[in-house]
């Protein structure tokens, strides 16, 4: 991070480092400056407090209510819907399925995206620019459009089936769409840019000399990658996989388009409770469980990477 450049700051302020810089020395907060900072933050912070924080507090509160038909009965807070989420076979299976799909998609995405990041590092400027452009267009393209692409690819009369028939692997086209496998394939496709870009970013920060030193000391490319490059790129791997996992956990459109009701993920089950059953407390409880469990996995993953693998991320 540009430590030297941030020593100097805007006129009228004391020397303050940037967001990720070293911890600042204790300093006096003059009333005037605090007031100015508050004014700078106020528009966004105020908006987010009213339309983001308050709705989430209300949602959490709602999830502890009980529900009787159309009315929300004003009774003591209850854990009913939390318990029901884990005891009902539909929601508990959706919960396990969501975890499984997210884990599989993230791991496969990491395996196929790491080589792409390595290619980006080694490629010449023109090839690299072209590859980055493709990755960014993919990132910016509509999720519905990209999922539709998979409906086309995996269709009954689609190219994959035609190939399978032509190769004589199957006699008739297989039903590939509306399944858990199709959902995983489309999710991997969706999260690829989120995995490639952070890994590429952290590979950029590793000096070439590290790899060269390793090779000159007799280590082969595999050893160099495993012992030198991969551990040093861990911040990018961590950032990319954590974001991808969170995206998969909350996937809604993709399982809706490429899965079936039998392969529903948590977001679908929650949406169904709200839009179809009109059971707001139950839908809210599912959403809270989904958000909290995703958050817990993120924290646990961070601890494991830091403590067990001894990598600072």
């Amino acid at each position: 991070m540009a430590g030297a450049a941030t020593e100097a700051t805007m006129p009228g302020s004391a020397g303050v480092p940037d967001l990720h810089g070293p911890a600042p020395k204790r300093q006096r907060y003059s009333g005037n400056r605090l007031l100015m900072i508050l004014c700078l933050l106020l528009p966004l912070l105020g908006f987010m407090a009213v339309f983001y924080a308050a709705p989430f507090i209300y949602l959490t509160q709602e999830s502890f209510r009980s529900w009787e038909g159309e009315d929300v009965a004003q009774v003591e807070p209850t854990l009913d819907y939390y318990i029901k989420t884990f005891t009902s076979s539909r929601t508990s299976r959706a919960f396990v399925r969501t975890f499984r799909i997210s884990l599989i998609s993230t791991i496969i995405a990491l395996i196929i995206c790491y080589p792409v990041a390595l290619l980006l590092i080694r490629a010449g400027p023109k090839v690299r620019a072209g590859m980055l452009l493709v990755i960014f267009i993919s990132l910016a393209s509509s999720l519905i459009v990209r999922n539709y692409g998979w409906l086309v690819v995996l269709a009954d009369q689609g190219p994959v089936n035609q190939l399978l028939v032509a190769l004589g692997i199957t006699k008739r086209g297989l039903r590939m769409v509306y399944s858990e496998g199709a959902t995983i394939v489309a999710l991997i496709h969706y999260i690829m840019p989120f995995v490639i870009l952070p890994i590429y970013g952290s590979l950029l920060r590793i000096p070439d000399s590290y790899g060269e030193a390793s090779v000159s000391l007799g280590a082969g490319p595999w050893m160099t990658l495993r012992k030198i490059i991969f551990p040093l790129s861990m911040p990018g791997v961590f950032g990319g996989t954590i974001l991808s996992f969170a995206i998969c956990m909350s996937a809604f459109v993709t399982p809706l388009m490429l899965g079936s009701p039998a392969t529903a993920m948590m977001s679908q089950v929650a949406a169904e409770q709200l839009l179809v059953q009109q059971n707001f407390p139950k839908g809210s409880a599912i959403v809270v469980i989904l958000t909290v469990s995703t958050f817990l996995v993120v924290v646990a993953y961070g601890v494991i990477v830091r403590r067990v693998m001894k990598v600072d991320v």
Binding site: L44, S138, W222, S267
Partner: protein, 266 residues
């Protein structure tokens, strides 16, 4: 050394296969959009451009696209406008609870989208606020505001504050310094923040589906409904146009403002 070469081949091959995987559905969609068949078929047995004219038959596609454009543009402009001062405070100053405030402002990215939609839906019902296009705007702004904050902080940390000091020491007022020096250094962050906000809002389904009431509808909702009800390749024609427009925007933004390089470094 042959094993090492094998390993190199394997990594290179896997990387290119992954890139192929990334573009494969897009290429297929474009090919199928010119198919003459009533359903998705590959390779197409005959060619036609009928599916392009058929786009007009998607229910309410005109007004839905207009509403999506309006909301995406306003979402982009308003979140960028609110993110500029917030990013300035976060990147340039130190104050109590800074870590918590920045985590709070960046958190919507990690929260399930439908959670945002559901929370705002219940909040509007609870407070009795009316459901109209402003509800959609609010929902989209909550979802995307973290992106301009992030790109602007990246821009600010890469920018050079000594230029501002130089301007100030030459007698420029604080406002002039901000307008002429700070803002011009922020341009890449502004553009990519706006682009992210615009594109994510324009494409949003999971939040919109909870917040559309009283006949309002957005483009993703109508396209989604069409895909789930019809099997013909009209959505392929729509997708092709969408991809061409997005590609043009990204290429222009990269040539003119270096959006990609900023996002990779930031």
């Amino acid at each position: 050394m042959s094993e090492d070469r094998l390993f190199r081949y394997f990594i290179t091959w896997l990387g290119w296969a992954a890139m192929l995987f990334l573009v494969f559905p897009v290429v297929l969609t474009v090919v199928v959009s010119f198919s003459g068949s009533q359903f998705i078929e590959f390779p197409p047995k005959s060619l036609s451009v009928d599916w392009y004219t058929n786009i007009a038959k998607i229910n309410k596609i005109g007004e839905a696209t207009l509403l999506s454009l309006l909301i995406a543009a306003l979402t982009g402009l308003l979140t960028v406008a609110m993110a500029i001062p917030a990013a300035l405070a976060l990147a340039r100053y130190d104050f109590p609870c800074k870590g918590a405030i920045s985590a709070f402002l960046l958190s919507p990215v990690a929260v399930p989208m439908i959670a945002i939609g559901i929370a705002i839906l219940q909040f509007f019902i609870w407070t009795g606020l009316p459901f109209n296009w402003l509800t959609l705007l609010v929902g989209h702004m909550v979802l995307v505001s973290a992106y301009p904050v992030r790109t602007l902080i990246a821009s600010l940390t890469l920018s050079n504050p000594s230029l501002e000091e130089a301007a100030a020491s030459l007698g420029a007022s604080r406002w002039t310094v901000f307008r002429t020096v700070t803002l011009s250094q922020l341009t890449p962050g502004l553009i990519s923040g706006f682009l992210f906000a615009f594109l994510i809002s324009f494409d949003n389904y999971p939040i919109s589906i909870f917040l559309v009431r009283s006949g309002l509808t957005t483009m993703p909702i109508e396209v989604f409904n069409y895909i789930s009800q019809q099997l013909d390749p009209t959505p392929a024609a729509f997708s092709t146009i969408y991809i061409i427009i997005v590609s043009a925007i990204i290429i222009f933004a990269e040539r003119r403002f270096g959006v990609i390089s900023l996002s990779v470094k930031g």
